[in-house]
């Protein structure tokens, strides 16, 4: 018989199935944490929280009661507070668990939970909450503790407190708004000219022209300034980018129009000029969309706690981890991370090194053994003696690798700049030839024709094609749970010809092992096993206990934990044992690569639990679609899972085990030396070197609130089976971009034909330029969405 997970009662607070049901006012709760949140909300009359959104509550089952005492230290306080005075302080907390209307509501009602809070304001997009409070009535640490107690623990990290986040897109918006304003009004004032004015309307004509000139001055000097500075910079570095022909075109348009208006020889091309700047800035703005609540540049510091409990004399006080020195005695609680290499003072403890090595099974450490920084404690609190400071620890030495110092943008030449280079030379040559020919035949028109050529050659449509193609693709990816750092990543993703996967947490579910029971147990017996294993802190016991959803309300007597063997106890009148094969006297041979927990009741062997790593569903199809592109699996684990991995991965992929973070990085480097463009898919701190070194590094995350290492993109774990489709779409975007280039060149050729022969009137320019821009933008946006819908299906 296999155990089936029984659908039990769901927790009133978090909606998760209850293992042990706790009742409060007739409402079921899954754990003490959830019940406490309800009690807090109930006493403060805030139970509307549960009505605003169906699934608002956050489970507190895995929550760690962190200490926030260190926040009151003057240095930390100064870093965190945005404003401080004796009566009023302001603080801005990052709260990744904000996800719905109820969250906003509860956080903004914080003042009802603590009278020291004046006001709290949530920014949903950034997942931050700004709190105004009275520092004499509530301490910063109490505030953080209050938020944590209702399930919204603020995330406070040293590296983030050092640099304040600032919105970067506002400057662009100002420029965009001014250009748009000028464009609209100049269009209005230009209309009479196009429709034809009477000869006696000369006064009006010159009035309109002068107004146009006045409106376009801020566009030229403010909105378009970036293009001129960028062109000048690239000119000085002798690298021609797309901004050079754009700047030349804009300059020609503006100077020619100014000349025309000053000498009263024509109305100028200011409508085309301002329209062009407006469209170009829209392109920039469209491409510049970023996911503000996600961080793509975290390093190891983000994983570490800000402070630990350190023994000072006879008291435990909170110490910032950067102050830890060799010889300090620190206390670590369950699920906390060891901040620096340290020696264990207590007897046996289990540490989960999956962050550092990728090894999924917790490691047993004996008294006097060295524990490396980055290990997560599982089980009872332990006391450690610091051996090395955090910055010198084994783990942090990885960050001294040169991969973390390089700036990636410098190596890569974008498609758009490669095209722009050729384009610029062609235009320059054409302009010179045209000028020469006109100089020969009709020298009085030479300057007019030359400026016309430069004006229409301005590759506005070309410059718009890339932002709109990649920007649209970025949005499509975002809707499907694939968040990229910026639009340039798509271009690099299109060139990928080798994909490397990490195992733990990427190919397999990191924290959710597969548990299966072979044998025969009834409901009461299952409950008894749950009760018994729940009393032990051994990792296997915890896994077994969590997998059973049948609570039993009994007491354990004569409970005994035999190290290395198992646990036993009397439940009711039955003697229950759980442990190794020897412990219960199991004799058959089983596959030695999996982990087993054997169960005996009243000395009869009832069966065993098999604990295996759970491979994400549908991966096999994705990997076989990738075919030879799928280069390798790099795992920090031992090769126990080689068989199950071989079954999933195509034959051409190499499977490498026992890889430490440095090996992974070196493997990526060796692939790159063979001329491959490598995509690394990983999840943990142990992959961070490889993620950084690879051409595109993607971090897989099952929970958007959780920390991901520095990467180019974050992929929702559920979407991993779609990875090949995302890659295909990236390739399609390059094709779409090339077609859009074609369209843009087509218009440029027509316009150049008109310009070279000297027929470019303001009206022709005013029609041709917007038409070419809009058709390119329309085509790329439409094509991207059409392709994406075919590949990925509609978003539900």
């Amino acid at each position: 018989m296999n155990t089936s997970v029984v659908e039990s009662l769901r927790c009133f607070h978090c909606g998760e199935p209850c293992d042990d049901i706790l009742y409060f006012e007739d409402r079921p709760f899954c754990c003490e944490g959830c019940k406490t949140v309800y009690e807090i909300l109930d006493t403060h009359n805030l139970c509307d929280y549960y009505q605003l959104d169906g699934h608002s509550g956050l489970t507190l089952k895995n929550a760690v009661a962190g200490s926030y005492a260190h926040l009151d230290a003057p240095d930390v306080r100064r870093k965190l507070l945005t404003f401080d005075s004796p009566e009023l302080s302001k603080v801005n907390f990052q709260v990744p668990s904000i996800h719905c209307v109820s969250c906003i509501w509860l956080l903004e009602n914080l003042r009802k939970l603590n009278a020291g809070v004046f006001k709290a304001e949530v920014s949903f997009g950034r997942k931050t909450v700004t709190i105004d409070f009275d520092p004499s009535r509530v301490k910063l640490s109490e505030l953080a503790h209050l938020m944590a107690s209702v399930g919204y623990a603020p995330v406070i990290r040293l590296d983030e407190t050092e640099v304040a986040k600032k919105p970067t897109h506002r400057g662009l918006l100002y420029k965009l708004v001014i250009a748009g304003f000028a464009f609209g009004n100049i269009m209005l004032f230009s209309f009479p000219e196009y429709l034809g004015l009477e000869a006696n309307d000369d006064v009006l004509k010159s009035l309109f022209s002068w107004l146009n000139l006045a409106l376009s001055v801020p566009v030229f000097f403010y909105s378009a300034s970036e293009y001129f500075t960028s062109a000048w910079k690239s000119f000085r570095q002798r690298q021609i980018n797309i901004d050079v022909p754009i700047a030349a075109g804009l300059l020609a348009l503006f100077l020619r129009s100014t000349f025309d208006i000053l000498t009263a020889t024509g109305p100028g091309y200011l409508d085309s000029f301002s329209g062009l700047v407006f469209f170009l800035l829209i392109g920039r703005w469209f491409q510049g969309k970023t996911y503000e609540s996600l961080a793509f540049d975290r390093d190891f510091k983000s994983y570490f706690p800000l402070a630990v409990n350190r023994l000072a004399g006879k008291d435990w006080t909170s110490a910032i981890i950067y102050e830890l020195k060799k010889g300090d005695v620190i206390k670590i609680r369950s699920m906390e991370i060891v901040p620096s290499d340290a020696v264990l003072n207590d007897s046996d403890a289990f540490f989960d090194y999956s962050f550092v090595t990728g090894e999924a099974k917790p490691v047993k450490v004996k008294r006097g053994d060295l524990v490396y920084a980055g290990g997560r404690l599982i089980g009872k609190p332990v006391v450690l003696t610091v051996e090395k400071s955090t910055s010198q620890s084994h783990l942090t030495s990885l960050w001294n690798n040169e991969a973390f110092r390089k700036t990636e943008e410098s190596q890569y030449k974008k498609i758009i700049d490669r095209s722009a280079r050729k384009f610029t030379w062609v235009v320059m040559a054409l302009a010179v030839v045209t000028a020469g020919v006109w100089q020969w035949y009709a020298p009085q028109h030479m300057w007019l024709v030359l400026t016309s050529v430069l004006m229409v050659a301005c590759p506005c449509a070309l410059a718009l094609a890339a932002p709109f193609t990649y920007g649209s693709m970025l949005r499509v990816f975002g809707q499907h749970g694939f968040f990229l750092k910026n639009a340039d990543v798509i271009e690099r993703l299109a060139c990928i010809d080798a994909v490397v996967f990490d195992k733990t947490g990427t190919v397999t579910h990191g924290r959710e092992p597969g548990v299966e029971f072979v044998g025969d147990l009834d409901a009461t017996e299952l409950g008894a096993v749950k009760l018994l294993t729940g009393a032990s802190t051994h990792p296997l016991s915890t896994i077994v206990s969590k997998s059973i959803h049948r609570p039993l309300h009994e007491n354990i007597t004569q409970f005994k934990e035999l190290p290395g063997k198992g646990v036993q106890g009397m439940i009711g009148d039955r003697f229950v044992q759980a442990g190794s094969a020897n412990f219960v006297g199991f004799r058959e041979n089983l596959d030695p690569r999996a982990s087993y927990v054997f169960i005996a009741i009243d000395n009869n062997i009832k069966g065993y639990f098999i604990i295996t790593v759970k491979i994400r569903p549908n991966l096999k199809h994705m990997l076989s679609r990738l075919g030879t592109t799928c280069a390798a699996l790099l795992s920090g684990d031992n090769d126990a899972d080689r068989g199950s991995m071989r079954a999933v991965f195509p034959a051409s992929a190499s499977l490498l085990f026992n890889q430490d973070p440095h090996h992974k990085l070196a493997f990526i480097q060796s692939l790159q030396q063979q001329g491959k463009n490598v995509l690394m898919v990983g999840d943990g701190l142990n992959d961070s070197g490889a993620l950084k070194q690879s051409n595109v590094g993607i971090a897989v995350s099952d929970d958007s609130g959780i920390f991901t290492p520095a990467c180019d993109g974050i992929l929702d774990g559920k979407q991993l089976p779609q990875l090949d489709k995302f890659m295909a779409l990236a390739k399609y975007s390059s094709i779409i971009l090339k077609i859009a280039f074609g369209i843009s060149f087509f218009y440029n050729t027509i316009a150049l034909g008109v310009a070279v022969t000297g027929h470019l009137t303001p009206l022709v320019a005013a029609i041709l330029m917007p038409v070419s821009s809009i058709s390119v933008v329309g085509f790329s946006t439409f094509a991207v969405n059409a392709v994406a819908r075919r590949k990925l299906g509609a978003v539900n």
Binding site: W105, E108, E121, Y174, V177, L207, L211
Partner: protein, 57 residues
């Protein structure tokens, strides 16, 4: 003729006024978060259960 000039002056003044007010609101962060204000305005405070005022008419 004169009326057109006057109208242009009026319309431009108005338009510049709107431009300035838009830039002002942008600068003061009114467009930084476009989601929470939309739900915040719908939150309401429950009437406090106060026995003194709880007299049925």
């Amino acid at each position: 003729m004169g009326i057109i000039v006057a109208l242009i002056a009026v319309s431009l003044t108005l338009a510049v006024g709107f431009l300035v007010s838009f830039l002002w609101s942008l600068k003061h962060g009114q467009f930084d978060d476009t989601y929470s204000p939309s739900v915040r305005m719908l939150f309401e405070d429950k009437p406090q259960p106060n026995p003194a005022n709880d007299v049925k008419k």
